[in-house]
Symmetry: C2
Subunit: 388 residues, 2 copies
Amino acid sequence: MSVLPATERVLLGPGPSLMAPRVMRALGAPMLSHLDPDFVPLMDDVRHGLRRLFRADEQAFALAVSGTGTSGMETAVANTVREGSRVVSVVTGYFGDRLAQMCERYGARLRRVDVEWGRACDPEALRRVLKEEGADVVTFVHAETSTGVRNDAAALAAVAREHGALTIADMVTSLGGHPVEVEQWGIDVAYSCTQKCIGAPSGLAPVVVSGAAKSRVMAGDAPRCRSFYLDLRLLEDYWVNRKYHHTMSASLIYALREALLMIDEETQDARWARHQRHHQAFAAGLSAMGLSLLPPADERLWTLNAIRVPDGIDEAAVRRTLLQRFNIEIGAGLGPLAGKIWRVGLMGAGSTPQSVVLLLGALDAALAAQGRAVAPGAGVAAASAALA
Amino acid sequence: MSVLPATERVLLGPGPSLMAPRVMRALGAPMLSHLDPDFVPLMDDVRHGLRRLFRADEQAFALAVSGTGTSGMETAVANTVREGSRVVSVVTGYFGDRLAQMCERYGARLRRVDVEWGRACDPEALRRVLKEEGADVVTFVHAETSTGVRNDAAALAAVAREHGALTIADMVTSLGGHPVEVEQWGIDVAYSCTQKCIGAPSGLAPVVVSGAAKSRVMAGDAPRCRSFYLDLRLLEDYWVNRKYHHTMSASLIYALREALLMIDEETQDARWARHQRHHQAFAAGLSAMGLSLLPPADERLWTLNAIRVPDGIDEAAVRRTLLQRFNIEIGAGLGPLAGKIWRVGLMGAGSTPQSVVLLLGALDAALAAQGRAVAPGAGVAAASAALA
């Protein structure tokens, strides 16, 4: 017999992350229809709030697509990649690979720049490929959820711009947790999700098209998007001109809007600093416990920590102990990293001193249960010192 | 300054419809991640519940796509229509037309069977076209939300089958309110939405592929679906084999599951009878008020009533009065029917004696405000008599 969850799972995996009670309450506000005069201003709040969060220019078009982050990825691809488009995809992990696959589905002639999983892409590697054959579109992942790596989005976008290519950037695990500067970095199309650093339920995908890219992507004479559901021109007609396109989930919009209001109240700078602080404390704690992170220090995300599983430890058993004994969720590795790493998200409402101390303490216990009890409490002590 | 809604709008438009308090409470249950061991059985409840609601065979694959009803439509098209597919689209209104447009975007060589808006399609008209040129896929809308018309899905599907064509049926405004018999009628692919007769928030799209159609649509050697997000093979891998595809919105799944449990408790037969009863009472009330419905009596939906706007009445002003004075939403006409009809939904938790009496009374008042007060109270009296 299945039942709805009776307790709050402590969500410290790669997402969904913990949500503020305010956001949960907003989710349950009375239903309005998708073009109700009282709903339309809430859509405007979301649209403008997302544009500010992406730090896109005033002419940019930001919206929330009615689907999960993967629908945001497909929106970016479906509106820029045509049969025969030359696409160069930087692949630094599972989601870079998915983005490349999607471009192929939409007809791209694809060239990949593959990078060892766990490392960022050297912009020179991209430059070499672009010098050889150019590209219409360059894709990369800013914050690679599968490896905990942050790519230098500004540098990659600059290289793409040198060669006149449109840039698609995946910001699923950075938006709301790391500095993101769509305008300053010259990103053309970016997308994200709602259930990680923004701190809302999943089900909507923030997408932005820069003012400069709009004429290439969304103009009347640009090639037609194959998808109807993800067609940015139809979506702009809905979000801006109130022309019916689909029945947006008011509940999800309420929750996303509330989460965006909370970001405005905290300020973006303070929020980024908070994510950095708790990541650093967590990393200090791991180090004191003899655990290490996969990426080198200057390529690490603050939002997603990829921890190497020590030799002799059963990685699935550790996750099971955390779940069953402490009601804590963390993530496993994907693809070639399955069994080799744990993925810990400290994102949105989950990036707190409590999360850091709780998880380090629980990890201590889970590792001790497998006979690996080196200096118990050392991790918590080191993290507490870093937080002080 | 925008704010979340403070009152419950009485949702009697074409959707979203009113929701049971139980469903709203389920929406706010604690978050679980998309592959949590406690979440997986809830997905199974939804999958099996939807298969039963569609009345599909035991080998059929039913799921909820993470998007609105329009994403369900696109899922059906993206997985069946290829470049050069011969598609015959029955167009009896706005949504039949949208389905035809979508097939064209996916590369169909399209032949339309256009029918006057407000009437059902004569199966002979479809047969004539199929005899002339055959088809790989036939599309039609069972319950046309834009006109209040019910097409004879069983007869249309039988004609398509005579010619070996796959059938796509839009059941957005019938599933959960009208008898739907995917297996018995021989429908291959059908889709719906959650926010109408099922009585959950929007944001998920029920889709079913019959057991017989699975081998043609989802087999390993069937042509690859252009869309990654809507690829039914990847979605089956997620729903059945638990292979990560996207981060489903647990909140929406909780609410949909609760709504499906309520349908099981009520029983499908009782639910259909309830929708029929309240439609008939409402129609009797309208008739007593001198108002008429657009479709002929034997082509009418029970779930969506398309009321002709009487001469000399300002249709938008009536909707405004209902909204501002009584907090009631009804819908306007779409496309060529804009300004000519009102659309009243009596769906899901909104199909009640209260809705019927409240709306007839409020309509009396709104029409009287424009000087048209023929026999005030006659509508409510006639509806009450029909309900007795």
